[in-house]
C-alpha cells in the first residue's frame, strides 16, 4: 500500500490557521503532511516520491511578510500552473473582495491565487483541478472584523471540511471555483455574483 502525501506550503501558518494541514490530511486519509520549501518545488517533489502525492494545500497569504513580498508570493503561486496532475486548494483571505483596504499585500495575493486557480482549471483541465477557499481576512491576523451575516465565526474545521470536499473524489467535477467559508460576507461584493 502506498503512502498518501499531502503537499503543503508554506510550513508556518498564522495562529488562526495552525493545524489546518493536519486536519485536511486527516479528511483525505493521508498519512504524511509534506511541507514544501518553495511552491515551485511541487513538481519535483511529486516525482521524488515515495507514495502518492496528488493533492496540494497552499495558503499563500500566510507567506506574505514572513520572508517574502506579495509580488514574490504571487509569482510562486502562479508557477503552480505549470504542475500537471494535481488537485490543489489555495486558502486565501477575502481582502481581494475589497473587505480591507489596509492589507493590500494579502489582497493582491488573494487575487493571484484566484486567477491561478481559474487559469489551471481552464488550461490544465484535462489533468489538474484547482480551487480556492476564501476565508475572513481576520484569520490571517489582520485587525478587522471577521463577522459575516451568519454570526457563526469561521473555524479551522470549517475550512478543512471545505478543502476536503474540493480535494476529494466527491469534488471531482469542481474546478476553478471559489468556495467562501465566511458566514456570507462575500454576498456584499459584486466580484462574487
Amino acid at each position: 500500500m502506498t503512502t498518501k502525501r499531502v503537499l503543503v506550503w508554506p510550513a508556518e501558518l498564522p495562529p488562526g490557521l495552525t493545524g489546518l494541514y493536519e486536519a485536511v490530511a486527516a479528511l483525505h486519509d493521508a498519512a504524511v503532511v509534506e511541507p514544501l520549501h518553495d511552491l515551485c518545488d511541487a513538481a519535483a517533489r511529486i516525482e521524488a516520491g515515495p507514495g502518492d502525492a496528488t493533492v496540494l494545500v497552499a495558503v499563500p497569504d500566510a507567506a506574505v511578510g514572513a520572508h517574502r513580498t506579495a509580488g514574490e508570493v504571487g509569482e510562486q503561486v502562479m508557477g503552480l500552473g505549470a504542475v500537471e496532475g494535481l488537485a490543489s486548494v489555495l486558502v486565501v483571505g477575502d481582502g481581494w473582495l475589497g473587505t480591507d483596504a489596509d492589507d493590500l499585500g494579502g489582497a493582491l495575493v488573494g487575487s493571484a491565487a484566484v486567477t491561478t486557480a481559474r487559469s489551471i482549471a481552464v488550461r490544465r483541465g484535462g489533468t489538474s483541478r484547482a480551487n480556492v477557499v476564501a476565508v475572513p481576512q481576520a484569520l490571517f491576523g489582520v485587525a478587522t472584523s471577521q463577522r459575516g451575516p451568519l454570526r457563526q465565526p469561521t473555524e479551522l474545521a470549517d475550512i478543512a471540511n471545505a478543502a476536503g470536499l474540493l480535494l476529494s473524489d466527491a469534488g471531482g467535477y469542481l474546478s476553478g471555483q471559489v468556495l467562501f467559508v465566511d458566514g456570507g460576507r462575500h454576498l456584499f461584493s459584486s466580484l462574487t455574483a
Binding site: 481552464v122 451575516p149 451568519l150 471545505a162 470536499l165 466527491a170 467535477y173 474546478s175 454576498l187
Partner: protein, 260 residues
Amino acid sequence: MTMTDTSLPSAPTALVTGGGQGIGAAICRQLAQDGLHVVVNDLDADRAERLASALRAAGGDASTAVADVSDPDAVDRMFDRVEEQVGPVTVLVNNAGIGGNAAIRDVTPDYWRRVAAVDVDAVLHCTRRALHTMRERRAGAVVNVTSRAWMGWWGQAAYATAKAGVVGMTRALAVEMSSRGVRVNAVAPGLIDTPLLRDRSEEALERLLRSVPMGRLGTPEDVAASVGFLASDRARTITGQVLYVCGGKSVYAYPDWPDA
C-alpha cells in the same frame, strides 16, 4: 412559544423536489446515505415510490410526497402532510426543473411562463413554506439547483432568466435568513450526463463537450455530492454560495460558435 416538546426527530428530514429521476434521484441517494430521512417529491407517484423503496432497500429512510410544486396550494398541503407524518423539514433541496432549448423566436409567452412556473416560481413556493418552519426552529438548510446556463448560452433565454432568478433568490434569502441561523446555498451544474442530454445527437454532444475545460460530462453523483456537502453541518459557515459543478465551464467556456 411552548417548550413542551424538545425531542428531536430520529433523523433530520430532507425534502427533494423533482427527486424521482436524474440529478434529483442522485441527490436523494446521497442524502439517504448521509443518514437523513428523505422525502422524494415528484409529479409521478410510481416513480417516487420506486425510488423510495430502493432507498429503503439500501438501508435508508425514505418516503414520498406527490405534488406539483408550481402550485402554491399543493405545496402548502404537501408540507403540512410531511410535517405531520414525518416531522419538520430541516433540509429543502429545490431541484425540480424543466430544461429545453428554444431560440428566442420560439420563446412564446406561454413557453416563458411554463419555464418560469417550474424553474423559479416553484422555488419560491417551497422555500417560503419551508422557511416558515426553519425560522421558528432557528435551524435549517436550503440548497437550490440552478444552472451554469444562467450566465448565458444559446437557446437559453427563458431558462437562463429563471435560473438567474434562483441565483438572486439564493443570495437574497441567505442574507435575510442569516440572523436565524438558516443557510441558503445553490449548486450550478454544467453539462451533466442525464437522459435529457443523451437525447442530443452524437455530433451536438461532442460540440458541447468542447466547451468544458475538463473535457468530460459531469455525473448526477458529482452534483449530489456538492448538494450533500452544502446541506450538512460541514458547511455550517457557508451561506449564499453558488457552487458551480461544471468541470470548469463557468470559468471559461470555449464556445463553438453556431450560426444564429
